[in-house]
């Protein structure tokens, strides 16, 4: 028999879900990111015209999401490294709260500079 969402409803599992989904989405975004920057091979003007569409509100919202994904994956990853490589102690929930806090701060800072 298979288990369902009721077995998974606890904070460390949500942290895993965020880590996996953010990692997957970032991996899918990376080729796009690299290709956009690669346009600079054709000069500054070419890169500038490639960046024009980043002014659209929908893309800007997407950028905020990307920054959140990146910050969440980094903070969650540091949490995992600490759990795997440091002596075990009862700090899982604190580490989770810290990772979530760091993500929100990074997203907020980006948003404030964006608009």
């Amino acid at each position: 028999m298979k288990s369902d969402w009721r077995a998974r409803a606890h904070p460390a599992w949500w942290a895993f879900a965020v880590h996996r989904i953010s990692g997957l989405l970032l991996t899918l975004f990376l080729p796009l990111h690299f290709l956009t920057l690669g346009v600079a091979l054709n000069g500054e003007a070419a890169l500038q015209s490639a960046l024009v569409w980043t002014e659209q509100p929908l893309i800007k919202a997407g950028e905020v999401v990307l920054v959140l994904l990146l910050a969440a994956h980094m903070a969650g990853g540091i949490r995992l490294l600490m759990l795997e490589f440091l002596p075990w102690r009862n700090w899982q929930k604190s580490l989770l709260a810290l990772a979530a806090g760091l993500t929100v701060v990074a997203g907020g800072a980006f948003l404030m500079n964006l608009v």
């Binding site: 028999m1 298979k2 288990s3 077995a7 606890h10 460390a12 996996r20 795997e84 075990w88």
Partner: protein, 237 residues
């Protein structure tokens, strides 16, 4: 509220939840409920239990979607409205009704080299292990496991990667890796290394969250991850 509505899994892998009405009693455990159904309502119901006091590890089932010992779970703790849903442990084949087949679970303990490998004979002085030594403390953290299968049933890595040895077998291996009397450390680390072993763990921590003995197999598996890497770098596995 004097009656419980209890939905119980009937059948094997294919089957359905069957509903029963069970009188509500004070201090009633989930095992009491299942026993009432079998004795008073339907004697063909199959389930497994032995000690009824949380020592044997036979009566674990999925209660309202979470793996638990039914003997030590009071109905009050888990009831949603007036309904209980009781099913066999997940991640294991169903033999009949609430009885899961534990063979694979225990075979994986053997595959993880869960047996002690003695290095001394009865003629030797017996080993002195200081209770406050770090190895002994690591062993203490995991040694109380009674093999109920709650962690194994709760682990999604087991679901997604059926070769995975699982939290209980790896926890057992970690207690032996820290046993200073044991003589099979490297063979054991070799047995638990890689995608079917400790490196597959994603730290969901469902095992730690659900363990009725408050053991953290996640901590044991993290220890194995470091120890297998150390053994690999030293050329011992």
């Amino acid at each position: 509220m004097n009656t419980l509505r209890v939905k119980i899994w009937r059948g094997r892998e294919q089957g359905a939840l069957q509903e029963f009405e069970v009188p509500r009693r004070e201090s009633q455990t989930v095992l009491d409920v299942v026993t009432h159904v079998q004795r008073a309502l339907d004697p063909t119901l199959a389930y497994r239990f032995a000690c009824r006091v949380g020592m044997c590890g036979s009566c674990a089932m999925s209660v309202n979607g979470r793996a638990r010992w039914t003997c030590r779970t009071h109905v009050d703790q888990v009831i949603e409205g007036d309904t209980l849903e009781i099913a066999p442990l997940t991640n294991l084949p169903v033999i009949k009704d609430l009885v899961a087949d534990m063979s694979e679970f225990f075979d994986k303990w053997a595959r993880a080299r869960g047996q002690f490998q003695p290095t001394a004979t009865r003629k030797d002085e017996f080993a002195r292990v200081r209770p406050d030594s770090s190895e002994r403390e690591q062993v203490d953290a995991g040694i109380e496991c009674i093999g109920c299968g709650v962690c194994y049933a709760s682990c999604d890595v087991v679901t997604w990667n059926p070769d995975y040895l699982g939290p209980a077998a790896l926890n057992r291996a970690w207690t032996l890796v820290n046993d200073v009397r044991d003589g099979a450390r490297d063979e054991r680390l070799g047995a638990v290394a890689g995608d079917a072993g400790c490196q597959a763990c994603h730290t969901h921590m469902s095992c730690t969250e659900r363990c009725p003995k408050k053991i953290s197999p996640t901590a044991a598996i993290a220890g194995l991850k470091r120890a297998t890497l150390g053994a690999l770098l030293a050329g011992r596995i």
